[in-house]
């Protein structure tokens, strides 16, 4: 009998907080009838009485997971599916034989998935047209069947054409950058954002979306208050570095070349990442954040390896209202292989084989501030574009800055170090959980200070 999921795991499926709240309200037996759950197929089902005359038929395929409900909601999963899962998670759904409709639905899902997998395998990795979209991608546009020499030749030509377009886009960027510095960056703060947008659009056309995204962060730096000229210069210098590095791509060592390609926006196919050797560890899942941008919700999950001490970042994407990946939940210890994207200082990864069922994370292995700092410096040395790394620091006391100044994490004792938090971060819950005593804090180290992610109070993880 498989374990029911935890409440957090279910709520992490919610497409937005309103759905989570609505799901909670439906998590009592009152409105439900004919509920049940089974292991084969792994599913939960039930009827939910709503405001309509006929009850809604709700079913969840736990393998996936996938959801089906006869309600008219456009949310996915809908509140009924969430409520049903919460009910199940609370132990209030009996085991039983899956009804015909559930068996048929799950079987046809499996069938469709098999077909899709086969076609995906047949069409190979494609040119990886953005792994962002690639996660939910339609099948490749190549015909089924083995690759012929001709199609390989065609692929090479496509790659060449793209390289040319990228090179020409970056050449334009180089001119643009030089112009900014020649005429003075003061113009940028004056609101010359239209020029930035136009340049960014040009780079997207040139199939260099990574550079375009970096360019679009420029207005934020220009508007970041006192000291902004330094931050704008740092952004411009990083862009110029991308341009020069892209011209020397063939001479760079492989990992650094991979980093440069990522900066440009040339993506690596998921299959290729998963084909790389995995790093097995007991991964501590530190924190999870969802951010909606450009009609896409990005879920970031930060991890550190218990044995290797390696940091990792797992990204997943979904359109708003669609479920996000829930395989890695904060406060869990995951014994698994992580496959890192090729990079000079690998951080982004994909989870691979799981070796053991997850366990709750009761104690967190971390480092001193000096060690965390050294790891960030090392990453910056290997990859000069590094902006952030997750880290776990132990034995630190949160100290609110006097008079609204920035907060600090301080190691007590004469030889201790201190870590400033990012400006504006006021993690009162961190202070509450610590009680002013040393605690273990998961942070994202950035050049502007540490961003608090979660605190461990000895029994569990409290998100910040």
């Amino acid at each position: 009998m498989s374990e029911p999921w935890g409440t957090e795991q279910v709520l992490a499926l919610a497409p937005d907080p309103a759905s989570a709240a609505a799901g909670r309200k439906l998590a009592s037996p009152g409105p439900w009838s004919d509920t049940g759950h089974a292991d084969d197929p792994p599913a939960v089902w039930g009827h939910c009485r709503g405001s309509g005359r006929t009850p809604y038929e709700t079913a969840v395929d736990l393998d996936g997971p996938a959801f089906r409900c006869s309600c008219p909601s456009r949310k996915f999963p809908c509140k009924h599916a969430l409520g049903l899962l919460l009910l199940w998670s609370g132990g209030a759904v009996p085991a039983g034989e899956a009804p015909e409709r559930v068996v048929e639905w799950t079987a046809s899902r499996r069938q469709r998935e098999r077909v899709r997998d086969e076609r995906a395998a047949a069409s190979g990795s494609g040119d990886g047209a953005g792994d962002v979209a690639g996660d939910a991608a339609t099948d490749g546009d190549e015909p089924d069947g083995a690759r012929t020499a001709a199609s390989q030749e065609a692929a090479r030509q496509r790659a060449d054409r793209r390289a040319q377009r990228v090179a020409s886009g970056l050449a334009d960027l180089d001119l643009w950058l030089a112009d900014q510095v020649r005429t003075g960056t003061a113009a940028l703060a004056g609101g010359g954002y239209a020029a930035i947008d136009a340049m960014a659009a040009r780079l997207v056309d040139a199939q260099a979306p990574g550079v375009a995204a970096a360019l679009r962060r420029l207005p934020a730096s220009a508007a970041s208050g006192p000291g902004w000229p330094g931050r704008v210069l740092a952004d411009l210098a990083a862009l110029r570095l991308t341009v020069t590095a892209s011209r020397a791509l063939d001479t760079l060592p492989d990992p650094l070349a991979a980093t440069v390609r990522t900066r440009i926006g040339l993506t690596v196919a998921k299959e290729d990442v998963l084909a790389r050797e995995g790093v097995r560890d007991e991964w501590q899942v530190l924190a999870l954040r969802d951010e909606a941008e450009d009609r896409l919700v990005t879920r970031r999950v930060w991890l550190t390896g218990r044995r290797t001490g390696r940091p990792a970042l797992v990204l997943s994407f979904a359109p708003p209202g669609q479920p996000l990946d829930t395989s890695l939940l904060p406060g869990r210890l995951v014994d698994a292989d992580l496959h890192f994207y090729p990079a000079a200082s690998p951080l982004r990864a994909l989870p691979g084989t799981r070796h053991r069922p997850d366990r709750p994370l009761t104690d967190v292995v971390g480092t001193t501030i000096a060690q965390a700092h050294a790891a960030l410096a090392e990453a910056c040395a290997a990859d000069p574009w590094t902006t952030s790394r997750p880290a776990v620091v132990t034995g630190v006391v949160p100290v609110p800055g006097p008079d609204g100044d920035r907060w600090w994490l301080v190691e007590p004792g004469p030889d201790g170090h201190a870590l400033p938090l990012t400006v504006g971060a006021t993690p009162w819950t961190l202070l509450a959980v610590s009680g002013g005593a040393p605690v273990t804090v998961a942070v994202e180290l950035t050049r502007g200070g540490a961003r608090p992610l979660a605190v461990h109070d000895g029994t569990g993880t409290v998100p910040l």
Binding site: G184, T185, A374, P384, G416, A418, G435, D457
Partner: protein, 546 residues
Amino acid sequence: MSRGPTWDELASVALLGTDRAGRARVAGILAGLPGPAGPVAAALDPADAPRALLDAAALLAAQAAAGAGPVPAAHAPAPGPAAPGGDRPAAGPRAATALRTVLAGAVAAPPDELLIEWLGLAAQAGLVVPPADLVGVLQRCAASAPVAVAALPVLGARGAWLAAHQPAWTAALDGARVPTGASAALAGPGGPSGRDEGGRDPALLAEAEEEWRLGAGPQRRLALARIRQADPARARELLAEGWDAEAPADRAALVDVLRHRLGPADEPLLERALDDRRKAVRTAAARLLTRLPHSAYGRRAGERALACVHLQRHLTRRRIAVLPPADCDAAMVRDGIEERPPDDGIGPRAWWLQQVVAAAPLEAWTAAWGLAPAQVVALPVDDRWRQLLVNAWAQAAIAQDATPEWAAALVDVVPRTARALLLPLLPRADREAAAARVVRTASLNRAPAGTPQVESQVTEALEACPGPWGPELTAAVLDRLARDADARTWADHQRVPLLALRLPPDAVTAVARLLDTQPPGLPWHLPLTRLRDVLALRHQMHEELR
């Protein structure tokens, strides 16, 4: 984050533009770049000044990022004292989940009331708020004084320590610690009376006396109320000392402060106030004196009333004979009787009679006639006077915080405006029984379905009964919920939030069963669903916080 003076120099050249700064200045920077980046920068071509500057910046930024060391702890602000330990155990994870549901406002009920219920249950169970949820609770304390009062006992040492870091939280908890008497003393009749004896802090008292001496208007009245709460005699002394110097306009409000913790020792000052030239002051003093049955005023008022309303005994039969006052003399005016009747048609003699009866201590009747309150109220009386007497007695009962016997004798015969004020005087069981009678009587009124007057009687009766309701009232309310659609009124919908908070949580079973019988899609389905959801959450809270 600064990357040193060279970086700042690069940034200012970039800000200005290399065209204006000049090639020589850029070349100068390139030649002087510190650290291992120096030789690399020196090899850059100053002729292409913009690109050379950007390359130098990239070198310097990478060098700074890769070479920076951690900040010694001495450079950061020093940690303050840690929270004292020894807190009671925190509420468990499931109780915390319920708390978070309440804090998130995920149910359709006034969230403050639910939060206050959670906090009260935790206090009873001897638990404190889990540290991870303290911020959410403190934010709500800052927004609502009743929440702060309820939270105070369950914040624990950790919560108090945390609150000290935020002025808004500190202020909210300080406000909750100030004795409730200050506000109670200023509340009208029926307001909360003396919840605690706190506030004896001498520093606070000295501060209040300072405000009393130097402040103005309402501030002085509040200061006096605080002193009254802590030390009634001191407040009386202060008021008596400066009485003649007080502005006539302030005196009525100041006398009213004595309402709180009123005692026989206040009588001389109140008698003095009866001689005031202002009617408002006399009325205020008289209102308080009626609450002192053994005062000279009480005796006067009792005798005056018994002179107008006699008990006649004829063999075994008893009845009340009424002889209204013939005129309104100076002594009556001094004791707060108004001479001029209001313009609502009441005659002057009836008007005087009503005031005379209302001013008399209720004890006067039972003592003089040797009867229980219920017997007094049940005595036969001329129909002309019956309603006037009942109203006057009700007024007296409300003004004098009458005994439960008096309230019980009057509650079913008085007009409904008075009933709502009498209900709180009854002991819980009697109050709920009275409310249940109102609910059931109104429910029988099938046609026309619930007139507005009847409906507001039901609402007022229910509002007068704090939750959780006992079985009798609960049953009456649930029966009413189950009425068929024709008999249901708008008021039933309006009352759902009240029911959600005051029905006992285990009523969730009955409501859920009721909901099952309701056809979905009809308007009644949604409010019932909300009711069930709130009750289910409260049920969970009660289960988890035993």
